[in-house]
């Protein structure tokens, strides 16, 4: 019993692991960003951990003091608003690095996407209030000629990744997700086995179509970086180095495999 107490005591007073190289990323990057980070680690030996949530939530958290120095958002709205709240010593920067695409997934019991939209009971999208892919998906549905019938069938999930969850479990017959959540098979093969199986399940269960880009406002992926002085400076150059590496032309192939289009300014 005394030994047990000692173990408890040691463990309680052990220091917390340093939450150092963290980056915040929008949920649509949930599958592909870990692959990119693994590639980065293989090349440079630097390990960076991602934390995922919807862009809106993450920007709120950063505004309330969350320790992220790099934030990959799915809408410049959020990165720009963070930029406005920045003080001079924080040296904030933002930029746009790619354009995301919407995929429409429908269950294979429907013949076409149109039929699926018309007949399915539920249409899953991310919450338009704080998830950019949800906002784009809503815009796409709103311009659809069947909008009045589609509207009551919309089911909102907390973020983009959860849409896939509804689809893979058969709870919704139609869903609109970011392309990056159903990346090219070249990237899929790199994923952990459990994830591959789930993605295969989704793909076997239904069909996907790329939603034509002119049917919804562009989903511009942007980054936000800040170099806060009061934090240990050793952390930030590594994050900044990753940002530069990620934006380099060499990584362009990765981004297009992940379902992004190049952003032409």
């Amino acid at each position: 019993m005394r030994g047990l107490k000692l173990v408890f005591a040691c463990f309680i007073f052990s220091g917390n692991a340093a939450a150092s190289q963290l980056i915040a990323a929008a949920s649509d990057l949930r599958l592909v960003l870990p692959l990119l980070l693994a590639q980065y680690q293989a090349e440079t030996g630097v390990s960076i951990q991602p934390v995922f949530a919807s862009s809106g939530k993450l920007s709120q958290q950063i505004q309330h003091g969350a320790p992220f120095f790099l934030f990959l958002a799915a809408d410049p709205l959020y990165t720009n608003s963070l930029l406005q709240h920045c003080s001079a010593e924080q040296q904030c920067q933002t930029g746009v690095y790619g354009r995301g695409q919407l995929l429409l997934w429908y269950h294979s019991r429907f013949q076409t996407a149109e039929q699926a939209l018309e007949q399915s009971q539920h249409i899953a999208i991310a919450d338009p209030n704080h998830a950019p892919y949800g906002k784009a998906a809503l815009a796409y549905l709103q311009q659809h000629q069947l909008w009045p019938e589609l509207q009551p069938k919309i089911r909102r999930t907390d973020n983009a990744a959860l849409v896939l969850h509804l689809l893979s479990t058969g709870q919704a017959g139609v869903g609109i997700v970011g392309h990056a959540l159903l990346p090219e098979s070249k990237l899929q093969q790199l994923l952990p086995k459990a994830q591959q199986q789930q993605l295969q399940l989704v793909q076997q269960l239904g069909r996907t179509e790329v939603v034509p880009a002119h049917l919804y406002p562009p989903i511009r992926h942007s980054w936000f970086y800040r170099a806060e002085q009061k934090h240990p400076s050793s952390v930030q150059p590594e994050v900044k180095a990753f940002l530069d590496w990620m934006l380099a032309p060499k990584q362009q192939q990765f981004w297009s495999d992940a379902g992004f289009k190049r952003e032409h300014n």
């Binding site: 692991a17 949930r30 949530a53 969350a66 320790p67 969850h165 459990a194 994830q195």
Partner: protein, 227 residues
């Protein structure tokens, strides 16, 4: 069997549960004692306040804590004066949040346990010559040990299942605020059902064992009491 990140989340969860339960017990025992010594409007008001976390959705508590922990709040400015960094997205913040969240799970059993110690018995032994320390050591401590124990276990188990507040104030940061419940949510979102299964099963088994053990202990105490 577990990956380092999962170990980290598991240890962090257990550590959070142990620490917050311990501090909660320490802080609320005197209050619960006062509450157990009779009835008054003041006591009822305090009781109602302490039971709030039980009926309010975690989001309400989470929302207020987000405001309180934000770097510009009066609370954070006060902490800064004391040389403490803002609590948002830090383990220390989670400890504070868990203490609030588990408050009724500690105060209720303590209060009930203390109420079992009759004022008459205390008065009798005081008249026999015992001073306050002697009463504490010979009467209050041995008689309220089962209550302290249940309060600790309940708070511990309840903290293991904490999710709503962590989701709002934690930020899911590995090693700081990524608890087991958050990691499971994360795995489900990443379509990593195998890991989610494993972690959920682990938590299920652990929680069941703790509760089972608690009930066994209680039964043991009752049998001893009826000797």
């Amino acid at each position: 069997m577990l990956y380092p990140a999962e170990w980290q989340a598991l240890l962090l969860t257990v550590k959070l549960a142990l620490l917050s339960s311990f501090f909660l017990l320490l802080l609320t025992a005197p209050l619960a004692w006062w509450l157990s010594r009779g009835q008054s409007t003041g006591r009822n008001a305090i009781n109602a306040l302490l039971t709030l976390p039980l009926v309010l959705p975690p989001t309400v508590l989470g929302f207020y804590l987000v405001l309180l922990f934000s770097p510009d709040s009066w609370f954070s400015q006060l902490l800064r004066l004391a040389g403490i960094e803002a609590l948002a997205f830090r383990f220390e913040g989670l400890v504070l949040a868990s203490m609030l969240y588990s408050l009724p799970f500690v105060v209720q059993p303590l209060q009930q346990g203390f109420a079992q110690i009759a004022q008459e018995l205390l008065d009798q032994n005081r008249a026999l010559g015992a001073n306050s320390w002697q009463l504490m050591a010979q009467l209050v401590w041995p008689l309220s040990r089962p209550a302290l124990f249940s309060a600790f276990i309940l708070s511990f188990a309840h903290t293991l299942g904490e999710f709503g507040i962590v989701l709002m104030i934690g930020g899911n940061i590995p090693g700081q605020t990524q608890l087991l419940s958050m990691l499971i949510y994360d795995q489900v979102e990443s379509l990593n059902y195998a890991r989610a299964h494993l972690l959920s099963g682990l938590l299920l088994l652990f929680s069941f064992s703790v509760l089972f053990w608690l009930y066994q202990q209680q039964q043991g105490q009752q049998q001893r009491g009826h000797k």
